[in-house]
């Protein structure tokens, strides 16, 4: 099994979620993060003083899936989260050793 972690633009979340469910993903975990990268941040002004804010709001989507689905998931995210502008984000794939469903105690692929 793999964990696919995607850092995407917040307004793409609904689209990505819908596309993932279509290819058979039944669960995912989402969190709000701040990203630093090629996409420039923005300036902010407070009473005439200017500050550079480097971090940009992003959403992190985590999906644990079986090996054979992992490739498909990456594809789907690549397509739906893409705008072509700086800051579209990254996909990271990690190894994972075990998955357990708390409700039932099921392990492995059955737990997904």
């Amino acid at each position: 099994m793999k964990k696919i972690e995607a850092i995407i633009k917040p307004f793409k979340l609904e689209e990505v979620k819908d596309a993932l469910t279509k290819v058979g993903v039944h669960g995912m975990t989402v969190s709000e993060v701040k990203g630093f990268g090629r996409q420039r941040g923005h300036k902010e002004i407070y009473r005439g003083a200017e500050y550079q804010v480097d971090f940009v709001p992003k959403v992190k989507v985590e999906v644990v899936a079986e090996e054979d689905l992992a490739g498909r998931i990456v594809e789907v995210i690549l397509t739906t989260a893409h705008t072509g502008k700086f800051g579209d984000g990254k996909i990271f794939v990690y190894p994972i050793e075990e998955v357990i469903r708390i409700r039932t105690g099921e392990r492995g692929p059955d737990a997904l």
Partner: protein, 409 residues
Amino acid sequence: MDAVNAGDNAFLILSAALVMLMTPGLALFYGGMVRAKNVLGTIMQSFFIVAVVSLLWAIIGYTLAFGPDFGGLIGGLAWLGLNGVGQEPFAGYAATVPHLSFMIFQAMFAVITPALITGAFAERMKFSSFLLFTIAWSLLVYSPVAHWVWGLGGWVRTLGALDFAGGTVVHINAAAAALAAAVVMGRRRGLGTPDLSPHNLPMTVLGAALLWFGWFGFNAGSALTAGGLAASAFVVTHLAAAAATVSWVVVEWLHRGKPTTLGAASGGVAGLVAITPASGFVGPMPAIIIGLLAGAICYGAVLLKWRLGYDDSLDAVGVHGAGGITGALCTGLFASVAVNSAGANGAFYGNPGLFISQLIAVVATLTYSFVVSYVILRLVDGTLGLRLKPDEEESGLDLSQHSESAYTL
């Protein structure tokens, strides 16, 4: 015995209620500008001042400020514990409302003034030291200065300087103390980084709105009767605030490329500050001019702190100092007996002497307040210590001083 006029009294009592609301309004105005970890501590300072200073005022502050004059400098103890301050009017101050109404209206001014100062030392002062400073300041600075300017026999009043609703007594007075505090306290850690950004600007705008609302009581209420003068003071208050809102925003827009919401809120307050001393003496068009000037001048004054290097955290000096001085001096220019026959003409109406009196009042207040505040602060620093320890400053006022967290969202 003078008779109470129900209309005047209704007006003054309700004005006092409006002015009372200003201090919690200030708490929010300031509270929104600090970091989330300091918001309760910041709000607490203003809120607790409402309580402590009100008690002080009833017990001794009022008689020091408005009691029978000693040498133009201070009031006597005739009204200690509000002894003799009753439901009948005291004609020396207000002939048509109960003496108690006048006293409590003034109490709200005594309350908000030290609360203004808290903006200068935001996010880094020990609560106990803050409390000690506030009590001392209220008695040693506020009451005397209020006596000079508004007390029967006070030397500034006798001099003929005009301060309708507190340009010197409230704003310049607080700003001088704020400057002393900023200097004595030193700068916050991390100053100049975006880490110190305001944590909740809608809260700040809400605070500004409550201030604006309450300021109608502050300025129009200072007419002490509900006649034409109150209407006039109300109108010029609103127009000056409006004008300063526009001018601050326009100047910031030109300077930084964007019109900001905090700029609008700050400009509004700057205009309200500036019109305060003038509000019973000038007409609508001068009020607009005063507002336009105040917005631009205070914007500049706020930027100045970065040059001068002191950390007047929430710009008590930049807004209340610069705004108060602008207003006090403009009163010396624009005042007109056509607006208020009990006032005087200013320089633009042929009486340059008024401008001189205004200048004297400004300089005297600035000097006295700065020096005494500085001494009090040094004394508190030498005893309790003024400043949080570094790790307390890091964890914030809320946890370190009050064992509370503002938000659990």
